[in-house]
Symmetry: C2
Protein backbone atom coordinates (compact mmCIF):
# COMPACT_ATOMS: atom_id res chain seq x y z
CA UNK A 1 0.00 0.00 0.00
CA UNK A 2 1.17 3.56 -0.64
CA UNK A 3 1.47 6.15 2.12
CA UNK A 4 1.70 9.01 -0.38
CA UNK A 5 -1.49 7.92 -2.13
CA UNK A 6 -3.24 7.39 1.22
CA UNK A 7 -2.35 10.93 2.22
CA UNK A 8 -3.67 12.29 -1.10
CA UNK A 9 -6.99 10.44 -0.66
CA UNK A 10 -7.28 11.68 2.92
CA UNK A 11 -6.78 15.26 1.70
CA UNK A 12 -9.35 14.75 -1.04
CA UNK A 13 -11.95 13.50 1.49
CA UNK A 14 -11.13 16.22 4.04
CA UNK A 15 -11.52 18.88 1.34
CA UNK A 16 -14.79 17.37 0.15
CA UNK A 17 -16.65 17.35 3.48
CA UNK A 18 -16.82 21.18 3.79
CA UNK A 19 -18.13 21.37 0.20
CA UNK A 20 -21.09 19.23 1.25
CA UNK A 21 -21.69 21.32 4.39
CA UNK A 22 -21.97 24.52 2.32
CA UNK A 23 -24.00 22.72 -0.40
CA UNK A 24 -21.53 23.65 -3.15
CA UNK A 25 -22.71 21.25 -5.87
CA UNK A 26 -19.85 21.96 -8.27
CA UNK A 27 -17.24 21.39 -5.54
CA UNK A 28 -19.07 18.25 -4.36
CA UNK A 29 -19.06 16.76 -7.84
CA UNK A 30 -15.64 18.07 -9.00
CA UNK A 31 -13.78 14.85 -8.04
CA UNK A 32 -16.36 12.55 -9.63
CA UNK A 33 -15.24 10.59 -12.70
CA UNK A 34 -17.45 11.08 -15.76
CA UNK A 35 -18.45 7.41 -15.60
CA UNK A 36 -18.96 7.20 -11.82
CA UNK A 37 -21.40 4.51 -10.69
CA UNK A 38 -23.09 5.67 -7.48
CA UNK A 39 -25.23 3.59 -5.14
CA UNK A 40 -26.87 6.32 -3.06
CA UNK A 41 -28.77 5.77 0.19
CA UNK A 42 -32.10 6.88 -1.26
CA UNK A 43 -34.46 6.67 -4.19
CA UNK A 44 -32.81 4.48 -6.87
CA UNK A 45 -30.61 1.41 -7.18
CA UNK A 46 -27.89 3.41 -8.91
CA UNK A 47 -26.96 6.66 -10.62
CA UNK A 48 -24.74 6.13 -13.65
CA UNK A 49 -22.47 8.96 -14.76
CA UNK A 50 -21.52 12.31 -13.22
CA UNK A 51 -24.46 14.22 -14.75
CA UNK A 52 -27.08 11.85 -13.30
CA UNK A 53 -25.44 11.80 -9.87
CA UNK A 54 -25.02 15.59 -9.86
CA UNK A 55 -28.75 16.02 -10.60
CA UNK A 56 -29.50 13.69 -7.68
CA UNK A 57 -27.26 15.70 -5.31
CA UNK A 58 -29.09 18.86 -6.44
CA UNK A 59 -32.50 17.28 -5.72
CA UNK A 60 -31.34 16.06 -2.27
CA UNK A 61 -30.01 19.49 -1.35
CA UNK A 62 -33.34 21.08 -2.32
CA UNK A 63 -35.18 18.48 -0.23
CA UNK A 64 -33.09 19.12 2.91
CA UNK A 65 -32.62 22.82 3.57
CA UNK A 66 -30.85 24.58 6.46
CA UNK A 67 -27.64 24.01 8.39
CA UNK A 68 -26.28 20.52 8.16
CA UNK A 69 -24.41 18.05 10.34
CA UNK A 70 -21.96 16.14 8.13
CA UNK A 71 -19.11 14.40 9.97
CA UNK A 72 -16.80 11.53 9.18
CA UNK A 73 -15.94 8.83 11.75
CA UNK A 74 -13.83 5.65 11.62
CA UNK A 75 -12.32 6.49 8.23
CA UNK A 76 -10.17 3.71 6.78
CA UNK A 77 -8.20 4.17 3.55
CA UNK A 78 -6.50 1.46 1.48
CA UNK A 79 -4.40 3.03 -1.25
CA UNK A 80 -2.03 2.02 -4.03
CA UNK A 81 -0.51 4.58 -6.44
CA UNK A 82 -3.42 4.32 -8.92
CA UNK A 83 -6.38 2.79 -7.09
CA UNK A 84 -7.77 3.44 -3.62
CA UNK A 85 -10.69 2.42 -1.46
CA UNK A 86 -12.06 4.27 1.56
CA UNK A 87 -14.90 3.56 3.95
CA UNK A 88 -16.29 5.42 6.92
CA UNK A 89 -19.37 6.15 9.02
CA UNK A 90 -20.96 9.50 8.21
CA UNK A 91 -23.10 11.37 10.74
CA UNK A 92 -25.69 13.25 8.69
CA UNK A 93 -28.67 15.41 9.45
CA UNK A 94 -30.09 18.85 10.07
CA UNK A 95 -28.26 20.89 12.70
CA UNK A 96 -30.19 20.71 15.98
CA UNK A 97 -31.96 23.88 17.04
CA UNK A 98 -31.67 24.89 20.69
CA UNK A 99 -33.89 22.55 22.70
CA UNK A 100 -34.89 20.72 19.49
CA UNK A 101 -34.84 17.06 18.64
CA UNK A 102 -31.68 15.37 17.29
CA UNK A 103 -32.54 14.16 13.78
CA UNK A 104 -29.01 13.17 12.79
CA UNK A 105 -28.22 9.56 11.87
CA UNK A 106 -25.28 7.45 10.79
CA UNK A 107 -24.84 6.35 7.20
CA UNK A 108 -22.21 3.89 5.95
CA UNK A 109 -20.04 5.11 3.07
CA UNK A 110 -17.68 3.30 0.71
CA UNK A 111 -15.80 5.15 -2.03
CA UNK A 112 -13.46 4.02 -4.79
CA UNK A 113 -10.81 6.24 -6.37
CA UNK A 114 -8.74 5.90 -9.53
CA UNK A 115 -5.89 8.12 -10.69
CA UNK A 116 -6.92 9.30 -14.17
CA UNK A 117 -4.51 11.54 -16.13
CA UNK A 118 -2.61 12.17 -12.89
CA UNK A 119 -5.71 13.25 -10.91
CA UNK A 120 -7.58 11.17 -8.33
CA UNK A 121 -11.20 10.72 -9.39
CA UNK A 122 -14.08 9.10 -7.51
CA UNK A 123 -15.17 6.16 -9.66
CA UNK A 124 -17.69 4.72 -7.20
CA UNK A 125 -19.66 5.76 -4.13
CA UNK A 126 -21.97 3.65 -1.98
CA UNK A 127 -24.09 5.28 0.76
CA UNK A 128 -26.60 3.41 2.87
CA UNK A 129 -28.47 2.82 6.09
CA UNK A 130 -29.10 -0.79 7.15
CA UNK A 131 -32.74 -1.93 7.41
CA UNK A 132 -34.65 -4.08 9.88
CA UNK A 133 -35.22 -7.58 8.45
CA UNK A 134 -38.69 -7.91 10.01
CA UNK A 135 -40.18 -4.50 9.15
CA UNK A 136 -38.11 -3.37 6.15
CA UNK A 137 -37.64 0.02 7.87
CA UNK A 138 -34.29 1.77 7.56
CA UNK A 139 -32.52 1.92 10.93
CA UNK A 140 -31.74 5.56 11.71
CA UNK A 141 -31.02 5.30 15.43
CA UNK A 142 -27.98 3.00 15.38
CA UNK A 143 -24.81 4.35 17.00
CA UNK A 144 -21.28 3.12 16.36
CA UNK B 1 -5.19 -1.35 -14.04
CA UNK B 2 -4.21 -5.03 -14.18
CA UNK B 3 -5.97 -7.55 -16.42
CA UNK B 4 -4.44 -10.50 -14.56
CA UNK B 5 -5.65 -9.19 -11.21
CA UNK B 6 -9.08 -8.41 -12.68
CA UNK B 7 -9.35 -11.97 -13.90
CA UNK B 8 -8.35 -13.32 -10.46
CA UNK B 9 -10.99 -11.18 -8.74
CA UNK B 10 -13.63 -12.28 -11.26
CA UNK B 11 -12.78 -15.92 -10.52
CA UNK B 12 -12.94 -15.28 -6.79
CA UNK B 13 -16.43 -13.73 -7.11
CA UNK B 14 -17.68 -16.42 -9.50
CA UNK B 15 -16.48 -19.11 -7.09
CA UNK B 16 -18.09 -17.36 -4.13
CA UNK B 17 -21.64 -17.07 -5.49
CA UNK B 18 -22.29 -20.85 -5.51
CA UNK B 19 -21.01 -21.04 -1.90
CA UNK B 20 -23.76 -18.62 -0.88
CA UNK B 21 -26.40 -20.54 -2.84
CA UNK B 22 -25.58 -23.78 -0.98
CA UNK B 23 -25.22 -21.90 2.36
CA UNK B 24 -21.66 -23.13 2.92
CA UNK B 25 -20.60 -20.72 5.67
CA UNK B 26 -16.94 -21.75 5.71
CA UNK B 27 -16.66 -21.33 1.93
CA UNK B 28 -18.53 -18.01 2.10
CA UNK B 29 -16.16 -16.64 4.70
CA UNK B 30 -12.93 -18.28 3.44
CA UNK B 31 -11.83 -15.22 1.42
CA UNK B 32 -12.59 -12.74 4.23
CA UNK B 33 -9.59 -10.99 5.81
CA UNK B 34 -9.36 -11.37 9.58
CA UNK B 35 -9.90 -7.62 9.97
CA UNK B 36 -12.69 -7.25 7.39
CA UNK B 37 -15.03 -4.33 8.01
CA UNK B 38 -18.48 -5.22 6.67
CA UNK B 39 -21.44 -2.89 6.18
CA UNK B 40 -24.26 -5.40 5.72
CA UNK B 41 -27.75 -4.59 4.42
CA UNK B 42 -29.44 -5.45 7.71
CA UNK B 43 -29.36 -5.12 11.46
CA UNK B 44 -26.19 -3.18 12.38
CA UNK B 45 -24.04 -0.32 11.12
CA UNK B 46 -21.04 -2.60 10.77
CA UNK B 47 -19.51 -5.98 11.58
CA UNK B 48 -15.84 -5.75 12.47
CA UNK B 49 -13.65 -8.79 11.95
CA UNK B 50 -14.19 -12.15 10.28
CA UNK B 51 -15.63 -13.85 13.39
CA UNK B 52 -18.35 -11.22 13.87
CA UNK B 53 -19.29 -11.19 10.19
CA UNK B 54 -19.30 -15.01 10.04
CA UNK B 55 -21.72 -15.14 13.01
CA UNK B 56 -23.96 -12.66 11.18
CA UNK B 57 -23.94 -14.77 7.99
CA UNK B 58 -24.89 -17.80 10.12
CA UNK B 59 -27.81 -15.90 11.71
CA UNK B 60 -29.03 -14.69 8.29
CA UNK B 61 -28.90 -18.18 6.83
CA UNK B 62 -30.95 -19.52 9.77
CA UNK B 63 -33.47 -16.69 9.28
CA UNK B 64 -33.96 -17.40 5.55
CA UNK B 65 -34.34 -21.12 4.86
CA UNK B 66 -34.99 -22.93 1.56
CA UNK B 67 -33.74 -22.58 -2.00
CA UNK B 68 -32.24 -19.23 -2.82
CA UNK B 69 -32.01 -16.87 -5.76
CA UNK B 70 -28.56 -15.26 -5.70
CA UNK B 71 -27.41 -13.72 -8.99
CA UNK B 72 -24.89 -11.08 -9.96
CA UNK B 73 -25.64 -8.39 -12.56
CA UNK B 74 -23.67 -5.42 -13.92
CA UNK B 75 -20.41 -6.50 -12.27
CA UNK B 76 -17.60 -3.95 -12.62
CA UNK B 77 -14.08 -4.70 -11.39
CA UNK B 78 -11.22 -2.22 -10.96
CA UNK B 79 -7.99 -4.04 -10.16
CA UNK B 80 -4.32 -3.34 -9.59
CA UNK B 81 -1.84 -6.09 -8.64
CA UNK B 82 -2.44 -5.66 -4.88
CA UNK B 83 -5.76 -3.82 -4.43
CA UNK B 84 -9.09 -4.23 -6.17
CA UNK B 85 -12.62 -2.89 -6.00
CA UNK B 86 -15.75 -4.51 -7.37
CA UNK B 87 -19.39 -3.49 -7.41
CA UNK B 88 -22.52 -5.12 -8.74
CA UNK B 89 -26.27 -5.51 -8.37
CA UNK B 90 -27.26 -8.72 -6.61
CA UNK B 91 -30.67 -10.32 -7.12
CA UNK B 92 -31.50 -12.04 -3.82
CA UNK B 93 -34.45 -13.89 -2.42
CA UNK B 94 -36.21 -17.18 -1.88
CA UNK B 95 -36.69 -19.28 -5.01
CA UNK B 96 -40.25 -18.83 -6.27
CA UNK B 97 -42.56 -21.83 -5.83
CA UNK B 98 -44.77 -22.73 -8.79
CA UNK B 99 -47.55 -20.14 -8.96
CA UNK B 100 -46.08 -18.33 -5.93
CA UNK B 101 -45.18 -14.70 -5.44
CA UNK B 102 -41.77 -13.34 -6.50
CA UNK B 103 -40.06 -12.17 -3.30
CA UNK B 104 -36.65 -11.52 -4.84
CA UNK B 105 -35.15 -8.03 -4.75
CA UNK B 106 -32.03 -6.22 -5.88
CA UNK B 107 -29.28 -5.29 -3.45
CA UNK B 108 -26.26 -3.12 -4.26
CA UNK B 109 -22.88 -4.61 -3.39
CA UNK B 110 -19.40 -3.09 -3.16
CA UNK B 111 -16.38 -5.19 -2.21
CA UNK B 112 -12.73 -4.35 -1.60
CA UNK B 113 -9.89 -6.84 -2.04
CA UNK B 114 -6.25 -6.79 -0.94
CA UNK B 115 -3.53 -9.28 -1.82
CA UNK B 116 -2.21 -10.49 1.55
CA UNK B 117 0.71 -12.97 1.57
CA UNK B 118 0.02 -13.67 -2.10
CA UNK B 119 -3.71 -14.40 -1.60
CA UNK B 120 -6.59 -12.08 -2.45
CA UNK B 121 -8.64 -11.37 0.67
CA UNK B 122 -11.90 -9.44 1.03
CA UNK B 123 -11.10 -6.48 3.27
CA UNK B 124 -14.47 -4.75 2.97
CA UNK B 125 -18.03 -5.52 1.92
CA UNK B 126 -20.99 -3.15 1.67
CA UNK B 127 -24.50 -4.49 0.98
CA UNK B 128 -27.60 -2.34 0.92
CA UNK B 129 -31.03 -1.49 -0.39
CA UNK B 130 -31.89 2.19 -0.91
CA UNK B 131 -34.72 3.64 1.17
CA UNK B 132 -37.58 6.04 0.45
CA UNK B 133 -36.78 9.52 1.80
CA UNK B 134 -40.40 10.21 2.84
CA UNK B 135 -41.29 6.92 4.56
CA UNK B 136 -37.89 5.52 5.56
CA UNK B 137 -38.93 2.16 4.05
CA UNK B 138 -36.32 0.11 2.18
CA UNK B 139 -37.15 -0.10 -1.54
CA UNK B 140 -37.37 -3.76 -2.50
CA UNK B 141 -39.20 -3.45 -5.84
CA UNK B 142 -36.64 -1.42 -7.82
CA UNK B 143 -35.38 -3.01 -11.04
CA UNK B 144 -32.16 -2.10 -12.87
Amino acid sequence: MSNAAESEIRQLIEGWIPAVRVRDISAITAPYADDIVAFDAVKALQFKGKAAYQAHWQACMEHCQGDMIFEIEQLQIHATPDLALAHWLNLCGPAREEGGEDKSCYMRVTAGYKRIDGQWKVIHEHWSAPFDMETGAALFSLKP
